[in-house]
Structure formats: C-alpha cells, structure tokens
C-alpha cells in the first residue's frame, strides 16, 4: 500500500546522468506529491543547485565514486546552503567494502543498486523523507 510520507517543505535533489531515469523519477515523485523535486545531470550542476537551495535529501549517482564521495564530504562540511546533515541515498552499480565504509562514515545508509526500477527509486525517496521527518522530530 502506498503511504505518502511527505513533509510539505521537503525538497529532494536527484543527481543522475541518465535523463530518462532522472526525469521520470522526478516527474513521478511530483505526481505523487512526495516532495519538491530538483534534478542535476552532473556533479558540477549539483554543486550549483546545492549552493542555491537548501535540500532536505539527496539521491546521488555514485558512478564516479571518488568525485561523489568528495561532494558528500563537502556537503557534510556545510559548504553549501543545504544543511550538512541532509539525508542521502546513493545509486551505484556495486559497492566494495572500502566504499561502503566511506559511505557509512559520511552518514549514507541507503544504497540503490543498479539496475533498479523507478518504483524502487520512488520508495528510496520515500525513505529519505521519512529520515528527514525523524530528524525534524528529534530537533528541539
């Protein structure tokens, strides 16, 4: 059963090079009224978006592991307008032990392995929003 876990103010940035995956996922999340959805086709575009707008969650393609981890480190260092503890999930073809440890240390707890279905990505966005909701409940 579909459960809408939307926070009205929630905003999610999808960083994914595949236009069909990126566009379809954002369109579906908007249609389901899950969150405000923004998209970036590359890490460079993502940096611009992160600087311009505060996002509550990120869904990050980790096809380029080193660059993706670097972006996450800078996110956690409060480099941009987006809060440093934003909820993050990554999309990857695989994940070795070193990468898994690095992701864990950077507070990433959700990995969506490719190939995945848009339905799976929508569920991942829902989990991200639930993480945001839990975090906001913990805050004074």
């Amino acid at each position: 059963m579909f459960v809408n876990s939307r926070q009205p103010e929630s905003a999610v940035l999808v960083i994914e090079p595949d236009a069909m995956v990126r566009g379809t996922l954002c369109a579906v999340c908007r249609d389901l009224d899950l969150a405000q959805m923004a998209q970036a086709s590359s890490l460079a575009v993502a940096e611009q978006r992160l600087a311009e707008q505060a996002f509550d969650g990120l869904l990050l393609s980790l096809d380029d592991v080193a660059s993706g981890l670097d972006l996450l480190r800078r996110l956690r260092a409060a480099t941009w307008a987006t809060r440093a503890d934003a909820a993050v999930a990554v999309m990857a073809h695989g994940c070795d032990v070193d990468t898994a440890h690095a992701l864990r240390d950077l507070g990433v707890r959700r990995i969506l392995l490719r190939p995945f279905k848009i339905r799976d990505a929508v569920h991942t966005v829902q989990r991200l929003l639930e993480d945001c909701q839990r975090r906001s409940l913990r805050e004074p």
């Binding site: 579909f2 069909m20 566009g23 379809t24 369109a27 579906v28 249609d31 389901l32 190939p115 279905k117 848009i118 339905r119 929508v122």
Partner: protein
Amino acid sequence: MGCDADTPPSYRLFLVPPYVIAPAYARHEAQRLQALRALLILDTPPEERFDRIVQFATNEFEVPMAAISLVDEDRQWFKASHGLPMCQTSRNVSFCGHAILRPDVMLVPDTLLDPRFFDNPLVQQAPRVRFYAGAPLVLAGGEAVGTLCLFDTRPRQFDRIDTAVLAALRDLVLEQLNPRQVAACS
C-alpha cells in the same frame, strides 16, 4: 447493439465480426487525424529515441509487450514496439482506439472480464492479451493521437506508482513528438 442516426459519433459503438465492440470515433475526429498527419510520423522508420522509451517501459513494468501506438483513420500503427508480432492492426480491434477517448490512463486488468475486450481477436488469439494499460498521447491542441501502452499475457493490477510512471514515460514520448509538430507547423 444499435444506435440511431442522431446519436453523436463519439457515443456510437460499432460491432465487428464476430461481436467485438469497436472503439468509437473521437468527438473531433477529422481535427484529430489532421493533427496526427501533421506530425509526419506515420509509416516512418524506427527511431532510437522512441525505441528507448518503449524498452524502458518494458523493463520497468516487466511486460512482454509495449508500444507507441498511433491511431490512424482505420488502423493503429506502432511507431515503436517490443514483443508485438505485428506493426499495425485494424482500429476496430485496437485497445488504443478506446484509450484515446479518455484523458487519463486506461487500465484493463483482465481482458476476459471486460465486455469490450473478452472476445477481441487480440485476446482470443495470439498474442492473447490479458492485461492492457494505455496512456493517451494528447498534443498541445488537445488531440489524442495515440498511446504509450503495455500488454501482458496474464492479468495484473496497476497501482498509483505504476500509473504515475507510465504517465511520466508518456510525457517523454510527447516531448519527442512535439518538435515534429513545431517543425510541421513552421
């Protein structure tokens, strides 16, 4: 089933041998056909940009058959398809002819339980369609020229996420059709 001469065409049902309920014509059928032909896409070769969307839909929904169907005057023609043994069918037996008459996604969870389709040749014979979902391709002017559609050989259910994904993929097809429309108009 009969209908008198005063019945608007969009509400008529036509019987095709043996007893298939053929789709009605759209309210502004001539305008719809004009818009379809202005796209200059009928009977053109396959194109990767359309094939890719159909392949994506096939994988996403795990269906054996999917297509971009364009509903011409007396046929539906597939601009792109996967798993279908033909490139066109008579409009009289088409599911998509029905789907273009409504603005939202048309679902047939089990064709054998639907009076419009239980004795349709595409149901009773190969490819033995049991499930259909079709998202109408509605142009900027309001003309529904075809569908992005899915077929399965087993009954299935479609939830809110499925419907939203199909509608989003349909919008990608429309984005690809519209440049043609602009070019044709200019």
